[in-house]
């Protein structure tokens, strides 16, 4: 049985007006990369603030490595790396001075990891942080989070401000740390990043968890849709009666969703004159997008996905 590293139990932090998080339960296991998705203001940062011990819960508790996140924050921090959603550094320092300051504060003597990361992200740290671009600051913050070889890493929107090349380098870094068995918690808006790195992903809406998805099984369950263009409208209409899951019809063009065995569909198509056939695979973005919209209050209920809370 894998050990749980992050345990959130009935966590509540009410900021009024429905903002905050309410009765949230979440467990992240040793060595897991855990994604945390949700619209703006859903409570992602509030959850992370609780994990970091920046704020105290109104109810419930959260623990990292068995230690209380507020009461034993300093002990947790000895083995944790954190990247803030809104990065702010100490005034008047250069990038290098800031990195050295954080290394000193963390009691890091061996700075080889820090230098390795500076090379990995091609960071020139000699300038004043104040004058740095958003992406440069983000790099400094990423290095701060990873330089102590932490066992647990908490990242709040880690790639905001990075260019696509650096985003890729960041994903490489996550995958490398994952191989080493680190437990990583990522809050993000970027589906691709989540898809490429995470084992499981939680979706939070209005302060409540609406689903926890296993990314591997989710990939298997991705819907494929087939866009068929028939020779004539009569044929198209006839096909509608075959009993497949029709998503859309535009004149002679029909979009069908097929899950599981594809053969009945192929056999059935053999009876028709077909002009064109396209295959569209559902992206992770489409799967998760309905959690973002205002109208789907119930979240995952309309689809047959079950959270594995």
């Amino acid at each position: 049985m894998e050990q749980s590293v992050i345990e959130i139990l009935n966590l509540t932090k009410d900021y009024g007006d429905g903002r905050g998080i309410f009765n949230t339960n979440l467990i992240v296991k040793q060595g897991e990369v855990f994604g945390f998705l949700g619209p703006n203001g859903a409570g992602k940062s509030t959850t992370i603030r609780n994990l970091m011990g920046f704020i105290r819960p109104d109810g419930g508790s959260c623990k990292i490595m068995g230690m209380d996140c507020y009461l034993e924050a300093d002990k947790i921090q000895a083995r944790l790396g954190y990247l803030a959603g809104e990065i702010s550094f100490i005034d008047g320092l250069t990038g290098k001075q800031m990195l050295d300051f954080i290394a000193d504060m963390k009691g890091i003597k061996d700075k080889s990891k820090m230098h390795e990361l500076m090379q990995h992200f091609e960071l020139n740290s000699s300038g004043k942080i104040k004058k740095m671009s958003k992406g440069m600051k983000q790099k400094v913050a990423i290095i701060c989070a990873f330089m102590g070889e932490p066992d647990v890493i908490i990242l709040d929107e880690p790639t905001s401000g990075l260019d696509p090349l650096m985003q890729n380098k960041f994903i490489d870094l996550i995958l490398e740390e994952k191989k080493k068995g680190k437990t990583i918690f990522i809050s993000s808006h970027i589906f691709e990043e989540i898809e490429r790195t995470c084992d499981r992903t939680a979706i939070i809406r209005k302060g409540r968890l609406v689903a926890i998805e296993d990314m591997k099984s989710l990939n298997k369950r991705k819907k494929k849709s087939y866009i068929i263009t028939f020779q004539s409208i009569e044929q198209a209409n006839q096909f509608l009666r075959e009993g497949f899951d029709i998503i859309d019809q535009k004149d002679k063009q029909i979009t069908v969703a097929i899950q599981g065995d594809i053969n009945p569909f192929i056999h059935s198509l053999a009876h028709y004159e077909i002009k064109n056939l396209d295959i569209k695979i559902e992206t992770i973005e489409e799967i998760f997008m309905h959690f973002y919209g205002e109208e789907n209050q119930a979240g995952g209920d309309q689809h047959d996905r079950k959270g594995t809370v």
């Binding site: 920046f54 924050a73 921090q77 005034d91 008047g92 009691g107």
Partner: protein
């Protein structure tokens, strides 16, 4: 016990600020000591007679026949209160308030240092900076007095006066410190951390202006500053010193507790 890296950063910033304020204070000290010259003192006395309310509002009233009394009247009544107060406001702002206001406290708290350790570090940096500023100014004052009027300064009283001044500034900075720990935004910090010491000073000015306003002295911390007792050699100076020390300790402790317990706005 303290976070050394943070202490180093604090002191590095503080020293720059401290130097500027030290230069200003030394400049004023030298000028005022220099004015102890009989000709100038005569003129200042005339001012006291011509517009007693105005002069007393600025604490510039009373005995001026010895150098120490003269310095107490013209230097420690106003300049030595207000100028270090501004220094303390800026110091507390950069050591505590700024980190919380701009969110950089997050990167400090994301290290294996408890909030307790961090706030004690900041407290220490603030108090040490105040001690250095006041004692370096006192030292410069002593040297100028010795150079300009050799042997005239009552050194024992001068040292006592500066000890009480230091304790008063612990109290004033205590108000700022508490305010910086209590609030999450700089504007609120300034309203209380600067507003309260200044309001106390205004009350002090008013209380010195007339008999009917005399009772106001119970509503200002500057009443605890026993400068006149030190000069006259009467009154229980130790009692006032202990009161100021107690108040400072209370304000700093309450501030630290609040800092440890509060929800950080990050």
């Amino acid at each position: 016990m303290i976070a050394r890296a943070l202490f180093k950063v604090d002191m590095k910033k503080s020293i720059k600020l401290m130097f500027i304020f030290w230069v200003i204070l030394v400049m004023y000290s030298v000028v005022i000591i220099w004015m102890f010259d009989p000709e100038f003192s005569e003129m200042l006395l005339q001012y006291q007679q011509m517009m007693p309310e105005l002069m007393s509002a600025f604490g510039m009233e009373g005995e001026t026949n010895s150098l120490i009394a003269f310095m107490n009247t013209y230097l420690y009544g106003f300049l030595m209160l207000i100028i270090p107060m501004i220094f303390e406001l800026m110091l507390v702002n950069q050591c505590v308030m700024k980190y919380v206001d701009n969110g950089s406290i997050a990167c400090i708290l994301a290290t294996p240092n408890s909030r307790k350790k961090i706030i004690i570090t900041q407290m220490l940096a603030i108090l040490i900076s105040i001690v250095i500023l006041i004692s370096a100014t006192a030292m410069a004052g002593y040297l100028s007095a010795e150079i300009l009027f050799q042997g005239e300064l009552d050194v024992a009283k001068y040292i006592n006066l500066n000890i009480s001044t230091l304790l008063l500034h612990f109290t004033i900075s205590g108000i700022s410190f508490f305010s910086a720990c209590f609030f999450n935004e700089e504007k609120n910090y300034l309203a209380i951390g600067a507003g309260l010491p200044l309001a106390f000073y205004l009350i002090q000015m008013l209380s010195g202006m007339g008999d009917s306003l005399d009772k106001l002295k119970y509503f200002t911390i500057y009443t605890l500053f026993p400068a006149d007792y030190i000069i006259s050699g009467e009154g229980n100076v130790l009692f006032y010193n202990l009161m100021m020390l107690f108040l400072a300790a209370l304000l700093y402790s309450l501030g630290a507790i609040r800092f440890i317990k509060k929800d950080m706005p990050i």
